[in-house]
């Protein structure tokens, strides 16, 4: 596979390390009343989509960027690649 890195252009997927569902960026609030349940769901339950999947890849053999890649899990077609940091900032994750 080839991942079109937003800063570095097309790169072979073997330069990257895969993490999984981009929902892992949405870490729950540790002080919520149901934090234990939220953390359980956050870490263990996955949509595991057959189709468009937003997922995290890390450019370990490259610039160490974490990327959010939108890839079809049935065809492997990649339709979007963004810097995870931009996504996280835009979507306003908690500090």
């Amino acid at each position: 596979m080839i991942i079109n890195h937003p800063l570095l252009g097309p790169r072979d997927a073997s330069e990257f390390v895969y993490l999984g569902d981009a929902a892992l960026m949405k870490r729950p609030d540790w002080q919520a009343d149901d934090a234990a349940q939220q953390f359980y769901e956050y870490l263990y339950l996955r949509d595991n989509i057959a189709g468009q999947h937003r997922e995290l890849w890390y450019h370990e053999q490259g610039d160490r960027s974490w990327l959010v890649v939108t890839r079809n899990t049935e065809t492997h077609e990649i339709t979007a690649v963004e810097l995870a940091r931009d996504v996280a900032t835009r979507e306003g994750h908690a500090v």
């Binding site: 870490l43 263990y44 339950l45 996955r46 890839r71």
Partner: protein, 416 residues
Amino acid sequence: MRYSAFTVIKQALTGHKDWKPAWRDPEPRSEYDVIIIGGGGHGLATAYYLAKEHGITNVAVLEKGWIGGGNVGRNTTIIRSNYLLPGNEPFYELSMKLWENLEQDFNYNAMVSQRGILNLSHSDPQQDAYARRGNAMQLAGADSVLLDKAGVEKLCPFLDFDNARFPIKGGLWQPRAGTVRHDAVAWGYARGADTRGVDIIQNCEVTGFLMENGQCLGVETSRGTIKAKKVAVAVAGSSSRVMAKAGMRLPIESHVLQAFVSEGLKPIIPGVVTFGAGHFYVSQSDKGGLVFGGDIDGYNTYAQRGNLPTVEDVCEGGMALMPMIGRARLLRMWGGVMDMSMDGSPYIDKTHVEGLYFNGGWCYGGFKATPASGWCYAHLVATGQPHPVATEYRLDRFVSGKMIDEKGVGAQPNLH
């Protein structure tokens, strides 16, 4: 027709004209006591043991394609019970014992071949971990032998002992492990279940569940509505998609595992060998092909195919371990979609929906588990209680933190 020496000889001499289909091809009835979704190894084994051990024969196995077309038909055929953790080892040892009597039990030769498995170690800590595991196996009644380097050399003189980047220090040997003709397992269970009255219905895709008041009353299929008192799902590779129809999210991701076979070669590899410092394991089939594999590709996918980096990585491991295979040729590569669970261990459990049961999350270890999975799942469906060796395989175990994490890599499915 029961297979016996007499029938085999008689048919051979009379042009094989009386052999009957190994299983019937019935139309689905409108209602069953139990519906099993998924005509793979686990689903068929469950049907077989429901009928044979629990006398429940009003059962349908619904398969969207052809039986045995999932991972039971595309794995690397290894059976073993060399697990570490108490949540796993007794279960896999039960499976091993069932394998050892399987052929007589279901009157079908699945070619269970107990030529052993050797897990190589390349460092003292790895050898220590194997000692711990070998001991855990014996505590559970399984067999294990801790080998030093000389012991490994005696078993497998063709490994690279002289020029290896990661020299072989020893290994853990389980003599009773081995390989099985994988397709025959599905066929044997199907034939055994069919003989006892189970309807095996191919080309019948489940499209939804009949739900009422939190209870599952049957399924919608491509061939109409079928009611059932109990519905048992065993669709590894499609678990998330099927259970989503019941409104459930699972602790599972789908990944592809590639497998490889070489051209047929005269016998050269005695049992199963796994490399401890690279991603490679190998055995040799009864037809002479080297059957080998390595790690999953590592990204979520539902496509039953992988990519080149993994292919090359696996072959690198093979050449590093046994450089004599350089001129053997890779004949075929294929992929299977794995239910990768969050701790590397499976689920055999009730769901929060009454009458709906789930079996999945086998990662790439489902084949060896087939008999015990069927045995324990049948037990759960028939009695409502988990089988004693499968009590840890709960869907909700992560809520309380009862992980069964053999590899110790945590909630990271692609690392299990």
